[in-house]
């Protein structure tokens, strides 16, 4: 296809308010150099947390923009809220008094069923959402007044997860269908992998995530398998069957260097896999998660891993290298949080949950 030309057609009109240049990612951790070292764990800095906003029903997902300036949350109440991080920080800063700060810069009501996942366009001010109503919707958040989507993809299945290609020209959708749907964002043409091995009945995809270069993507599915797919041909390069036993794999993401996959499952484990060999490199144990779509995420430097303990309603943090638990903090939610998302650019994360609330956490400076 004619790349570049077609890019111009899509979303080019939104350029006026695109992101600032995305901050250089902090140095990511090199696991390969240190994997087998048994050093002492780093300590995870203390965080302060604040209730930021509330949905009208369970908050199901949250996502930071690639430049770390925005946070979007989606809820069962079918709404999406968009926050500006700087305003959230201001709000935390001036809790002492003064006038109230409203960190919400947009609310989108356009779905008719719960929102399952969100993603930001890598360059433009566009937010996409995947929902139970079988649609993927595109919102332009440079226009504060617009509450409705400006484009809609009608999928054939419940959309459980969405992930933008780093160019912003393609979008992956993980649905109840066992193969990820690849959409060309300019034409809305949908593509599937041409070579699919037999995937069992329970292959619905819980999460799909592109790698940093788009060279591959990873899916976590209900059958407990983690699958790695080639970014060019969309062929399945590696299947880790039963990555989480018979339990559902609920989240999967690639490290920035594309060498490792971090996955989380309903078997109460968080695991780190080597992409090249498919071998299990680390296990992060000690957090129970058997009910919710639990997320295990890296912090911005990939030095730490964060997840949720449903039983004790705590946020658990491990040192990524030593797999040692370095922090357990009460989540401050009523009931365990449903989702955890870390900022890609700074020591801050967001949690949201069944108590409908969104909490923002940031390192105490």
């Amino acid at each position: 296809m004619l790349r570049g030309v077609s890019t111009a057609a899509f979303l080019e009109s939104n350029r006026h308010a695109g992101y600032d240049s995305i901050a250089a990612p902090r140095a990511a951790l090199d696991f390969s150099a240190m994997l087998d070292t048994k050093g002492s764990s780093k300590s995870f800095p203390k965080h302060e947390t604040r209730h930021v906003s509330e949905h009208k029903n369970v908050a199901r997902c949250a996502r930071f923009s690639p430049d770390g300036r925005f946070l979007a949350t989606g809820s069962v109440d079918t709404s999406i809220k968009l926050f500006e991080i700087s305003k959230i920080k201001q709000m935390m800063l001036r809790d002492a008094g003064d006038g109230p700060v409203r960190p919400i810069i947009g609310t989108f009501y356009d779905h008719v069923q719960p929102i399952n996942d969100l993603d930001f366009h890598p360059q433009n001010t566009v937010l996409v959402s995947g929902a139970k109503d079988h649609t993927i919707k595109f919102f332009d958040f440079s226009k504060t007044a617009a509450k409705k989507a400006f484009r809609v993809i009608q999928d054939t299945h419940i959309v459980r997860s969405v992930s933008f290609h780093p160019s912003g020209e393609f979008l992956l959708a993980g649905t109840d269908h066992p193969v990820a749907h690849l959409y060309d964002v300019n034409t809305f043409q949908c593509y599937l992998s041409a070579n699919i091995q037999d995937i069992g009945l329970n292959g619905a995809i819980n999460q799909v995530r592109y790698s940093s270069t788009g060279g591959m993507y990873v899916t976590a599915s209900k059958d407990g398998a983690i699958r790695l797919w080639d970014g060019i041909s969309a062929n399945c390069g590696r299947t880790i069957i039963g990555a989480h036993g018979a339990a559902e794999a609920t989240s999967a993401d690639l490290t920035k260097d594309e060498k490792y996959v971090l996955s989380c499952g309903k078997d109460s484990t968080v695991k780190l896999w080597e992409v090249g060999t498919g071998r299990l490199v680390k296990q992060y144990l000690g957090a129970t998660h058997t009910q919710l779509r639990c997320q295990a995420v890296f912090n911005d430097t990939e030095e730490f891993i964060l997840s949720i303990d449903e039983a004790t309603n705590e946020i658990v943090v491990w040192d990524a290298l030593t797999a040692e638990k370095v922090a357990r903090w009460p989540s401050n939610h009523v009931g365990a949080p449903q989702w955890l998302e870390h900022s890609p650019t700074e020591a801050a994360f967001a949690s949201c949950g069944a108590d409908r609330s969104i909490r923002f956490w940031k390192e105490i400076l």
Binding site: I153, H181, T187, S212, T213
Partner: protein
């Protein structure tokens, strides 16, 4: 103590907390130390002065207030001041009240424009109202005077955009009504519009003020994002005030702007740009004297800022105060020992401008002896003599004198050569190059060689050109590690000899080839250490591009869709086989939109539909496999229900048919594209509610909730005209190709 330690905010806060618990005598040195570091930290001043007030140390309190008030336009601090004044004058009868009133006037004159000054205005009016009652004087003249002063205060307060503006307005209304109902009407209606505009401005102003952290301590910029945000917030606030949003007279507006600048400088005390902007703003708005004062304060705040000194000297010089300007220059020179070359140069230039050739020459002679006198000073002075005084011979002498001292400076040689070439003195230029090249080591003479070859290309004949180039290669090959390959004459040399300005004897493509070949040939001999970069950039380039932060620099891998299967739910409606030979798209049997779920939903919906449409829907063919979302189809059908529309303008008739079929495209493809333009264009004239409803109709499945359904139908009936008008713009948006 280093600067970072000195301005450690946390340590300062700790110290201030400690001081709270110390007896006053011990706390004083702590406060003095804190305030020496943070002279604009109003909160510390307040804490300091309150400590004194607690022990009724009135003289000390007065002294502290005199030190801080004018630099810290901070409402809590000033309110503390008023409390003190009122307390001191409490028992002094009329005189005391007069003092207090003066203090109020003084205060409001300084900080009355603050967004948080509302309570002060209230306190002031309350104070004014209370005056005569204490005096027990009820004679008429004084009563009138009292009324007038209260009225004046209110009238000032209600045109100041503060947090309490609405409250103040109500108080003012009550006040006027209590004085005289008849008079009140006229006065209130006169002031209502002014108040309204102030209130509108307040709402805007609050947004800007909310961005600002009023607790921040003034520390030198260190580049943290919080500092940057605050800087931006202040810049925005200043820009807002400069726009004079309230359209008040320019004197009041200027006062407000100056006030904002002053406040800004409390927090951005160490930011030279703010000081400069403030001073230049004063200068621009006509009061150069104020600008001068700002510069003087700026230099007290940032005594090491050369930029500010030059800016200040420039302003003084341009308004003709040469002596003042000279003093600034002299301060730049400092003690003889540490004057920089640049300050020498600028001072010589200044002297030349203001006192003439002789003064400049005299100073140059002195400056020569300074240990910090670099070749720059010689070059600057010689060029001044040559260009301004037109004294080529003298300039030549200066250069020649400098050469003895700066023979080892390639840049000096180049400047000298430049000068000589202006004189067209090719003999001396050649001699200069030869002299320099014989004394300079090869690694420092690269530039000289380059200039020498350029010179020969301009002045020499072909043989001299070739000769110099050969010599250059020999000399440089000894220095660099380029090896013998550089010695051989290459095509690049020909290109460099035969290009002129931006004209080249080859295409850029040729150049690329040559560069790449050169790079390759360099690497022929080297061991291959790592794979060759695909695009031929050197490893240095590659690294730097990886560091640059835009996502484009990271190599992005694109999907190759030609290797994939097109997945099109529409084609699967009459599913007879795989889409493409040999490829079966696996579909999970637990598809929720399968045959089991649909009929029930369908029945529910059929009940709510108009009979005609219900029949139509009921007759739709049964669908197998992945099917379109029924809700979605229904939404489209509902919306294209043309006969229901009661009013039909020519416009809407024409356009109705346009978008309806397009939305029936179930894959939700490009037909949805133009919606952005539509949003932008029509918002002005179409009521927002209608707008959203029409969007709902167009792109949303029908809600199952009966209430919503009814609403929807109502909206369709009532607002069909606006609805179709919006389609119109959508349509035109599509036609124009949403170039946006």
């Amino acid at each position: 103590m280093t600067t970072t330690d000195k301005y450690n905010v946390e340590a300062a806060e700790l110290l201030a907390n400690e001081a709270l618990h110390l007896p006053i005598s011990e706390a004083v040195p702590v406060y003095e130390q804190l305030l020496a570091t943070f002279p604009t930290a109003a909160k510390y001043w307040k804490q300091y002065v309150e400590a004194h007030m607690a022990v009724n140390n009135d003289d000390a309190v007065k002294h502290i207030f005199s030190r801080c008030l004018l630099n810290c336009l901070h409402i809590p601090l000033w309110r503390c001041y008023i409390r003190f004044i009122r307390k001191v004058n409490d028992k002094k009868g009329i005189e005391g009240q007069e003092e207090t009133r003066k203090a109020f006037d003084f205060m409001l004159n300084y900080v009355g424009a603050d967004i948080a000054s509302g309570p002060v205005w209230m306190e002031y009016t309350a104070f004014l109202k209370s005056l005569p009652m204490m005096l027990q004087t009820q004679n008429l003249a004084e009563e009138t005077q009292r009324m007038t002063s209260v009225r004046k205060a209110y009238q000032k307060a209600i045109i100041t955009p503060t947090h309490h503006i609405e409250q103040l307005w109500r108080e003012y209304e009550n006040f006027e009504n209590s004085v005289s109902r008849a008079l009140a009407k006229g006065l209130l209606s006169e002031y209502q519009p002014k108040y309204n505009s102030a209130r509108a401005v307040y709402r805007e102003r609050k947004k800007f003020a909310d961005e600002i952290d009023w607790n921040m301590l003034a520390v030198p910029p260190s580049g943290t994002s919080k500092e940057e945000m605050q800087w931006i917030a202040w810049k925005r606030f200043l820009a807002f005030e400069k726009g004079n949003p309230q359209r008040i007279d320019s004197a009041s507006a200027n006062k407000r702007i100056a006030f904002t600048y002053e406040q800004c400088l409390m927090y951005l005390y160490h930011y030279p740009d703010i000081w400069y902007d403030y001073a230049m703003w004063h200068a621009k708005s006509g009061s150069v004297d104020s600008a001068i004062k700002i510069f003087q304060r700026a230099l007290k705040a940032l005594p090491d800022s050369e930029m500010l000194k030059y800016a200040y000297a420039e302003l003084e010089e341009s308004r003709g105060s040469i002596q003042a300007s000279k003093k600034v220059y002299e301060s730049l020179l400092g003690d003889d020992g540490n004057a920089t070359a640049l300050s020498h140069i600028q001072f010589i230039r200044f002297l030349r401008r203001t006192e003439g050739v002789e003064a400049a020459r005299k100073y140059f002679m002195d400056a020569r002896k300074s240990p910090n006198c670099t070749y720059h000073v010689y070059v600057a002075y010689a060029m001044m003599a040559f260009c301004l005084d037109k004294d080529a011979k003298f300039a030549h002498n200066v250069f020649e004198a400098g050469l003895k001292r700066f023979m080892h400076e390639p840049s000096y040689i180049l400047e000298y050569a430049d000068f000589l070439s202006r004189l067209n003195d090719d003999r001396n230029i050649r001699a200069l190059f030869e002299r320099a090249l014989s004394s300079l080591p090869p690694e420092e003479s690269v530039e000289i060689w380059k200039r020498f070859t350029q010179f020969e290309q301009t002045y020499g004949d072909l043989s001299s050109i070739l000769k110099v180039e050969q010599r250059r290669k020999e000399a440089l090959s000894r220095a660099g590690d380029e090896g013998e390959s550089a010695l051989n004459s290459s095509l690049q040399d020909v290109i460099s000899r035969y290009s002129f300005m931006d004209l080249w004897p080859c295409s850029s493509k040729d150049m690329d080839h040559l560069t790449r070949q050169e790079w390759l040939s360099k690497n022929i001999t080297k061991k291959i250490e790592k794979p060759t970069p695909a695009n031929g950039v050197s490893s240095v380039d590659k690294r730097s591009s990886a560091v640059s932060t835009t996502s484009n620099s990271v190599k992005v891998v694109y999907p190759d869709t030609s290797k994939m299967v097109v997945y099109d739910p529409r084609q699967k409606i009459g599913l007879t086989g795989p889409l493409q030979p040999g490829v079966a798209v696996a579909l999970p049997p637990n598809d929720t939109m399968g045959a089991a779920g649909a009929p029930n939903v369908l029945k529910d919906i059929l009940k709510t539909l108009p009979p005609a449409l219900a029949t139509f829907v009921a007759n739709l063919p049964a669908v197998e496999g992945p099917s379109p979302d029924v809700d979605f189809v229904l939404a489209i059908c509902l919306q294209s229900n043309i006969p229901l529309m009661p009013v039909r303008t020519a416009n809407s008739t024409k356009l109705q048919t346009g978008p309806a079929p397009s939305t029936s495209d179930l894959s939700g493809s490009s037909k949805f594209k133009p919606t952005r333009d539509r949003h932008a264009g029509k918002r002005k004239d179409v009521d927002k509610q209608d707008d959203e409803d029409s969007t709902t109709v167009q792109s949303q499945p029908l809600p199952r909730d009966a209430f919503k359904l009814r609403q929807l139908r109502k909206a369709r009936g009532a607002s069909s005209q606006t609805g179709s008008a919006s389609y119109g713009s959508a349509f035109s948006g599509e036609m124009s190709g949403s170039t946006g």
